[in-house]
């Protein structure tokens, strides 16, 4: 007790200099601490850094808030089925999905652009997201387009195209001047658009090929790394265009009718790059003579309205990869993963909205 008293009297005498020093130390620490949090959180010193919020704000500016929907590829339907591997993929990847046998698949057909209620057009870029083995421990997720190359080779290019492509409420079309300025600033996109325009046209989702666009590395059991781009080639015969100005869902309705006739199938082609082929530019195709491995058949058996528990809830993050597939140096991959995560988080906390496509409302 005496000991305590002694201490108290020492404190009671309170060395003024000392307390000031203590307060200064606390103040200095708090400045550094709060400064670090503000810097790390991007509130100060971030300049014109492209963050996930830049993209989310860009989507919101171009399309409105789209409550409850993905901030890009907002319009879609859920599908499910399986992948039958023939074992050929083992040559370049040790992933379980390429062992002979069947892997369950959840997927989602969608339209590019963030407007979840946009009207289908013959020219709409079509997307297919797939999650192999979802929700198991070893998954392969991919978000693909029916385009032979991606229009952008950098996150900045994607963002600039998003901003330039905002549909004007007056004309129903993007501002041609903004688009011309964008293409002048992004010759890689202008070149990619030519390749895209030259690709064969398809009538709908069921007869479209879907391409992974970004390059990835496949790693086999021996540890050999091979640059790969993958494509799903339709086994359906080309259909007649069902384009209709009176049916804003004609692409999806055609898909749903196709499913009523039976499962839809695609062949998985793994195209191998050589040491000469770049892996960092999604706007540039590889030479047409590159060898492809036919790794098996994707069979989609069911189509459903987006709902809790189906593909609505899946983030088709292109970097959810199994051992045997690895990300490449493509600068789009990490930003895609980051922005997809932001969109997923955002809509997980938003009220649910009614999707544009309701499978049960499609007449036979």
């Amino acid at each position: 007790m005496t000991h305590h008293q002694d201490h108290r009297s020492g404190v009671g005498a309170l060395n003024r200099r000392r307390v000031l020093l203590g307060a200064a130390a606390v103040g200095g620490f708090l400045v550094v601490d709060i400064g670090a949090v503000l810097y790390a959180g991007g509130w100060v010193g971030s300049g014109k850094r492209l963050t996930r919020h830049t993209f989310i704000d860009g989507f919101k500016w171009a399309n409105g808030p789209q409550i409850g929907f993905r901030k890009n590829h907002g319009k879609g339907v859920a599908v499910a089925g399986y992948f039958d591997s023939n074992g050929n993929g083992r040559e370049i990847s040790k992933a379980k999905v390429f062992q002979p046998g069947r892997t369950p698949v959840q997927g989602r057909f969608s339209l590019a652009s963030g407007n979840a209620h946009q009207a289908d057009t013959a020219a709409s870029a079509r997307g297919l997201g797939l999650a192999f083995g979802y929700p198991g421990g070893e998954q392969w997720r991919t978000a693909m387009l029916n385009l032979p190359v991606f229009p952008d080779n950098s996150p900045q290019g994607f963002y600039d195209r998003l901003i330039a492509g905002k549909v004007s409420p007056a004309t129903g079309k993007p501002d041609p001047k903004a688009n011309a300025q964008f293409l002048a600033a992004h010759p890689e996109t202008a070149a990619a658009m030519k390749i895209i325009a030259a690709a064969p046209k398809t009538s709908g989702f069921g007869d479209s090929p879907f391409h992974g666009l970004n390059a990835f590395y496949f790693v086999n059991a021996a540890g050999t790394r091979t640059p790969v781009r993958w494509s799903f080639i339709p086994l359906q015969q080309p259909g007649q265009s069902t384009a209709s100005s009176s049916d804003p869902n004609f692409l999806f309705n055609d898909l749903i009718r196709r499913f009523r006739a039976g499962p839809l199938q695609w062949r998985l082609l793994l195209t191998m790059g050589t040491a000469d082929d770049q892996v960092h530019d999604a706007t540039l195709p590889w030479p047409a003579d590159r060898r492809s491995i036919d790794a098996g058949t994707l069979t989609l058996t069911t189509v459903s309205t987006e709902a809790p528990g189906n593909a609505r809830d899946i983030n088709f993050d292109p970097l959810v990869l199994p051992p045997g597939i690895e990300r490449s140096e493509d600068p789009l991959l990490s930003p895609r993963s980051a922005v997809y995560a932001a969109s997923h988080t955002l809509r997980a906390n938003e009220p649910t909205s009614t999707p544009a496509v309701n499978v049960n409302e499609v007449a036979l």
Partner: protein
Amino acid sequence: VTTEIADVAPTVAPPRFTTLSRILHWLTAVAIFSALFIGFVMVNSTGNYATLLVVHKALGVTILIIVVVRIANRVTHPAPALPGSVHRLERWAIAGSELSLYVLMLAQPLIGWAMVSAAGTPVVVFGLHLPPIAPVNLTVFGVLRESHTVLAYLLVIVIAAHISAVLMHAIGLGDGMLRRMTFRLPGR
């Protein structure tokens, strides 16, 4: 040493935490500071996001392991007596702050793990697949993801209060509070 500060400092060295406790404390400090800083940077970066996420998850699991060991160690090895300069009310505050730190340090990595599980995404850390610990559900994911952010800010606040209090005691009152957790330097 004849500075004024040294003159007022207690001449009898205060009791320290055990060596293991002190090692665990500073390991946690470094790991939590890194995980928080990387976490805040990560959610604002695009090009480095994927790499930072791998590091962040590894730190999270490391923290979880250290904290479990720390809790076992804390239960079996009580803290040394506080300096006499600590008042009774402050003792309650210290106990409360220590308890909230332990709760937050344990909860935060578990919520991170659960939120990845709820997204239906494989939980891969150090190349190892961890089992899911939450049902795959978008709403559950949303709640856990928000909680992860809230707990990150709570950790920042509670850690800032913890460090401020120790600095005020060690420097402002010179009661040797910090020495309970430091290592004896050669020559001291």
